[in-house]
Every structure is written in C-alpha cells, then in structure tokens.
C-alpha cells in the first residue's frame, strides 16, 4: 500500500459514485426500528423504478437524531426523512424524481444539526462503516501515511501536545503528555489499548463512533502506536455492543488485507496489529488498571497506582490507554494540523466533545459541539427543551461518576473545568436531562445502586460503603431517616471518595453529593424527627 494506492481507491470510488446517494442509518438505534427492512425496500424500490444507475442506497452510521429513526437522507438534495417505514420506500424514491413524498421530514438545517461541529462524527452518517474504501474516499489513512513517512515519533508526539487534545474518557488528562510518558518509558514491548468499555448508563457516543466510523479509531491507534513505539494494540469493547464488535471485526480484517495493519505499513518498518477483547459486563473494567486485568483474562479488579500504566501496564509493559473518542480525534488532528485543532474550543479545553443527549428532552441523539458551548444551547436550542410542556430541572453529566447540574446553572460552558466547579465531571459524554417530575433523591439512589452492584469488592470503602450509602438513601426515600442519618450519609460520601482504591469508588458519592448540594431541600423534606433523644456527643 502506498499513497498512490490510496488516491486510486478514492478516484475509483468517486468515479463509480451515482448522482444521488440515499444514506440509510444502520446504527443500533435505527436498526432496532427496522432500518434494515427500510434499506432493503429502498433498494428494491430503486430497481422497480429502474433507477439503478442514478441512485445508490448506502448503509451508513449514525445520523444523530436517534429519536426520529429510522432516518434516511438523500445526498445532495439533503432532505432528511424521519420515522421511515419499509412501506414508504417507493414514495421516497419517487420524491427524488420530483414527486411529493408521503413521509415525515425533518429540517436538516434546524438548530439540532446547525449548531454541531463535526470532527469525530464527520464521517458518521456519511461513509459506509463496513467498507474501508468508503473511509479512504473520505481521506482516511492519509494522516497515518503522512506521520509514518514524514514525522519521527518525537515529532508526532509534539503535534499531539500542540493540539491540546485531552482524554475524552472522563478525567481529561492531556493526551500528548500521556503519549510522551509511554514513549519515554523503558522497554522494548509496548501496548496501545483503546478503551471501548463505555459503561456509563446513558452514554452511547463510543458505540456510535465504532458502529459508524471504526476505521478512524484504528487509524488513530496506529498513529499513537507509532508515536509511543508499540506494535500491538487491543480494543476492549463491551459485549453489550454486538454491532460495534462485528463492524470492528470487519474493519480490522479489511485493514489487514489492505496492509494498513500488520507489518511494513506504507512500506515503512512500522508494524502494528490490533486484536479485539470482548468485555463481559463489568463497569469497573472502564478503569484502566481493571481493564488491563481483564485483557489479561483475569478478574477485573483495579490495582493501586503508581505504578501508572504508562510505566507498567498490560503484562507489566508500558501501555498507552485512550478511549474511543480520543483516538477518533487523532486522524483529523494530523490531517488538519495541531493549530487548526487548538483553534477550536476554549483556552484549556480544545476541540469538540460528543454528547449523547437523552432523558426528558425532545430531541434525543448524538451531538458534537465545540468545547465551551453553553449547556443551555445544547439543552434548549438543540435539544428543544423538555417534552410535553415539562420544565427542565437538571442535567446529569458523567454518569455514575458525575453530578446533576441544576437549571439555574444552564449557562455554564461545557468544558472540563467549569463542570468540575459544579461538582460534576465531563465524563465520557452522557447527558441525561431531567424534568420537574424527576425526584433527585431517587436519582441519587439509582446511581448508588449502580455503583454498589458494580463495585468489584476488592477495597473495603467501596465494597461496604456503597452498600451503607445505598441503604441510607433508601431509608430517606422511605421516609424513615432522620437528620442523623443524613449526616452519616455525608460523612460516608467524604470517606468513600477519599479512601477508595479506584475511580469507581472515588466518584461513587458524586451524584449524591451534587444532588445534596443543589437539591438539599428534597432530602430534608423526606426526613423524620429524631426520636433517639438528646444528642450530647454527636459522633
């Protein structure tokens, strides 16, 4: 494979391209509403109308507005058909010939789409995720070529540092710094791992990226591997995402056949292989040390850091761990330059962030916005506010590790620091909107139950503390608790947060603490008077 080969593939693809491309969403959301049947009927309708030479029906990845699926979009006319049924296929085809379609349509220029800025999702809903040629046509693997042939690993890392990209998995650690540490760690064997164990309930960005554009992740991993000096990569993906797994398998196979993975990539000495590892239902495996235990085929229990994975990780070798969205950003950064990327976003949070918008909101689906976009823009303009005349009460970010941001703080810009100040975190990008019918103590208990069930059991504060905190929240909800119990709960939150071994335990109290901070009255309304008698030395 050479640069020339890439260009030829692109030319061939463009030459064969038909006048109209009818994009049909084949991501998990729309597929659950029978988009497979829609696609088949569209293909049949094209043949029935004798338009095989005019129209191509293409299965693509996520088109973002999941609540209105199945989605079909015509390119270049851009009309966006929503809630498409297989029966309506002939009508859609007819409309492309000037007829009036008998299908609901949505405005592709509405705020939901217009306010987005796509870097990670640029190919999502455009390329066919099951054909590597489709990715190459969108200039895929050019960045890898450029890096391998024009940059030293050191320069590659410098570009990453200059871009200002920070880890999209939650904590926001500077990616370039991480790469640099792994590169500098002594050792001949190094690994690159892509964390695709998207465990936060309410988050589905990574699933969409893997289903819609798997090659961007592979290309990102390959560039990272070159930069840090690794020759083996693993993608650790949840078993709950069968479609993402199968698309990744196809992508890896195609990349190997084309020589974009394997040995001597682009006729350089660089060789790199990627294997899939399928998770088996353990949220804690999203924690990096637990994830590595799981890749090694063991119980996914975390271990104390230091040593950090960058020094001693998988099989005790230096290991680079980044999440799906981080890797998906990589090819675009090398294609367009670090300055381009650093020009997007805020002072300390660069680029864009993908969010999965869900909950009590009109438009649910995927959005990608520049860092620093106010929450209000996302929730009210793009999301369209609460459905059925409800009032938005809070936005939950960061899943079980995050917090609830109350409506009065909707003008907060979305970046790592601002969300942190409100006691929440960016997290991986789940954004659940809650309206005034949501009881916040109930939400806190829901997340605590989650953490209790997902605790690995290794360290005492997390294993037993989450049980006690859950019981206290339950007691409060059942109107059996007193102010003394609430004090106990707060004390435990502080202790579990500070003493737990890994991120799961350390952040398990976050939803409780943030709801206590902004919605304390909801807790206090449920408390009973204390009957224990005088409290002489409250402990």
């Amino acid at each position: 494979m050479t640069l020339n080969d890439l260009s030829q593939i692109k030319e061939t693809e463009l030459f064969a391209r038909k006048k109209i491309v009818l994009r049909c969403c084949m991501a998990a959301g729309c597929m659950s509403s029978n988009s497979q049947g829609v696609k088949e009927q569209l293909e049949k309708a094209v043949i029935d109308a004798g338009l095989q030479n005019e129209i191509e029906v293409r299965g693509v990845g996520c088109m973002k507005l999941c609540c209105e699926g199945p989605l079909v979009q015509a390119d270049p006319q851009e009309s966006l058909f929503i809630k498409v049924t297989p029966e309506s296929a002939p009508s859609i085809i007819a409309s492309l010939n000037g007829g009036k379609p008998d299908v609901n349509q949505s405005d592709p220029h509405a705020a939901f789409f217009a306010k987005q800025l796509s870097i990670v999702l640029a190919n999502s809903g455009v390329v066919d995720p099951e054909r590597i040629e489709s990715y190459i046509t969108a200039d895929g693997y050019r960045a890898l070529h450029e890096v391998l042939t024009e940059n030293t690993p050191k320069e590659t890392i410098e570009i990453m540092v200059n871009s200002g990209l920070r880890g999209r998995g939650g904590a926001g650690f500077p990616t370039g710094l991480k790469w640099g540490t792994v590169a500098k760690s002594p050792g001949t064997k190094k690994y690159v791992i892509c964390n695709a164990d998207e465990g936060d309930p309410g988050a589905f960005m990574d699933r969409s990226v893997l289903e819609s554009d798997p090659h961007s992740v592979l290309e990102g991993m390959a560039i990272a591997a070159y930069a840090v000096g690794a020759d083996q990569g693993f993608i650790y993906v949840r078993a709950e995402y069968p479609l993402a797994i199968s698309r990744l398998q196809i992508a890896i196979k195609q990349a190997k056949i084309m020589g974009l993975l394997g040995s001597g990539i682009f006729e350089t000495p660089f060789h790199f292989n990627v294997d899939l590892r399928i998770g088996a239902g353990a949220f804690v495996c999203g924690e990096e040390t637990a994830l590595m235990m799981s890749v090694e085929g063991k119980r996914g229990t975390p271990r104390p850091r230091p040593p950090f994975p960058a020094e001693s990780g998988l099989f005790d070798c230096p290991t680079l761990l980044n999440n799906v969205e981080t890797f998906a950003n990589v090819p675009a950064i090398y294609r367009n330059g670090a300055e381009w990327f650093a020009g997007i976003g805020t002072e300390r949070s660069k680029g864009t962030k993908v969010f999965a918008l869900a909950g009590k909101i009109k438009n649910t689906g995927l959005i990608e916005v520049p860092m620093g976009t106010p929450l209000r823009t996302i929730v009210e303009e793009m999301g369209g506010g609460a459905p059925d005349g409800g009032k938005i009460k809070a936005v939950q970010t960061g899943g079980p590790s995050g917090g609830c941001i109350p409506a009065q703080h909707l003008d907060t810009p979305v970046d790592y620091e601002s969300l942190g100040k409100l006691g929440s975190i960016m997290g991986s990008g789940g954004m659940i909107v809650m309206d005034d019918s949501t009881r916040m103590v109930d939400v806190a208990r829901f997340f605590m139950e989650f953490c209790m069930d997902e605790s690995c059991g290794k360290c005492i504060p997390c294993r037993t503390g989450t049980v006690q905190m859950h019981n206290l929240l339950d007691k409060i909800l059942k109107r059996k608790a007193t102010a003394r119990d609430l004090a106990k709960l707060e004390d435990l939150c502080d202790m579990v947060r500070n003493t737990s071994l890994c991120g799961l335990g350390q952040t398990a109290p976050n939803p409780t603490m943030s709801t206590l901070r902004f919605f304390r009255n909801e807790y206090e309304e449920l408390l009973q008077p204390d009957t224990l008698g005088t409290d002489r030395n409250a402990s």
């Binding site: 959301g29 659950s32 936060d200 988050a203 890749v295 009590k360 809650m434 829901f446």
Partner: protein, 176 residues
C-alpha cells in the same frame, strides 16, 4: 455458633485428554477455539464467551474442562466466570426479556416495565419462570438511550416500550 452446611455437593467429572468423556461435539469445537488462542491464559474470557455461546450457560463440568485445557486452577476459572455479569452459571429460559436499566431508560420509566413483568410472571429480575419459559434480566445500559426505554426480546432491541407493550410480548411467548 451452629454450623450451617448448605453447600451443594457437586459430582466431579474428570476431563479426559482430548475432547470430553461425554462425546459431546461442542467440547471439540470449544477446544479448537482454545487452540486458536494457543491455550493462552489471557484468552480465558474469550473462551468463556465461546463456551457460553455453545452451551447456553457455564456448568461446572464445562468450567472444569476449560480449566484443565488452559491449565488454570479451577478456582481461577470460577472466579472469573462469576465476576462478569455476562456469564451465567444457570440455564436461561426459552425466551429472554432484558430490560435496559440505563439512566435514560430509568428516567423514562424502565422500572415500571420491570414491575409489570415481575407482577405478571411472579419472578424477580434475574430469575426464570418455573416452567423455564421466560427469563427476566436487566442490563446496565445497552447504549440505545435515544430510543428509551428499550427492551431486548430474544436478542432484538425494541424501542420505546410501555408496560402494556412489554406484557403483550410476554403473553405472546406464553402462547407459543
């Protein structure tokens, strides 16, 4: 205190050198899969996935077979198999109803779906009906938040469920 010995007695079946004493072909397929992974210890989870795919669940005999082939102590295999929720050591019902309990589904009433099924079938989440017809399970977010609340009926993700639509599906299975 009085000793409560309520541990089940389990028969120990010794695996034989190649294949399995029972002659069940699936053991052979599993062994080929292990060979593909060069019987490496770190392939344990992949092997358990395959075993569950072949047998439906992981019984002791099967775990023992895996442990002897991968040369891992049985306690390690059992420890891993019980750590991950995806693996099940008991047979599942003929049909499975997996209610997603992710946050988005929860705030849109997934708990009501579970309650409805629990009331109807008189089983709790994680259990199977006495006639082995239906297993009720919960999932920690299947990533279909845009179409919440979602339920997976026998592997098919179904969007925007209500207690009524869920019970309708359960009733269909009851008649089959």
């Amino acid at each position: 205190m009085t000793a409560i010995s309520n541990i089940e007695e389990k028969p120990v079946v010794k695996p034989v050198a190649s294949g399995h004493a029972s002659g069940d072909k699936r053991f052979k397929i599993l062994e080929v899969h292990m060979k593909k992974h060069q019987f490496k210890h770190d392939a344990l989870i992949e092997v358990l996935h395959k075993a569950q795919e072949l047998f439906g669940y992981l019984e002791d005999d099967l775990l023992l077979f895996i442990s002897s082939k991968l040369k891992l102590p049985p306690s390690r295999v059992y420890g891993v198999a019980t750590f991950y929720h995806f693996f099940t050591l008991k047979p599942k019902g003929e049909h499975t109803c997996v209610v997603c309990m992710g946050t988005a589904c929860y705030v849109k009433g997934a708990d009501k779906l579970i309650e409805a099924v629990q009331d109807k079938l008189k089983i709790k989440a994680g259990e199977t009906t006495a006639d082995n017809k239906v297993s009720l399970l919960t999932a920690r977010c299947i990533g279909a938040c845009g179409i919440a609340p979602a339920v997976v009926y026998d592997g098919a993700v179904t969007p925007r469920q209500t207690p009524e639509s869920t019970l309708e599906q359960i009733n269909k299975w009851g008649q089959a």
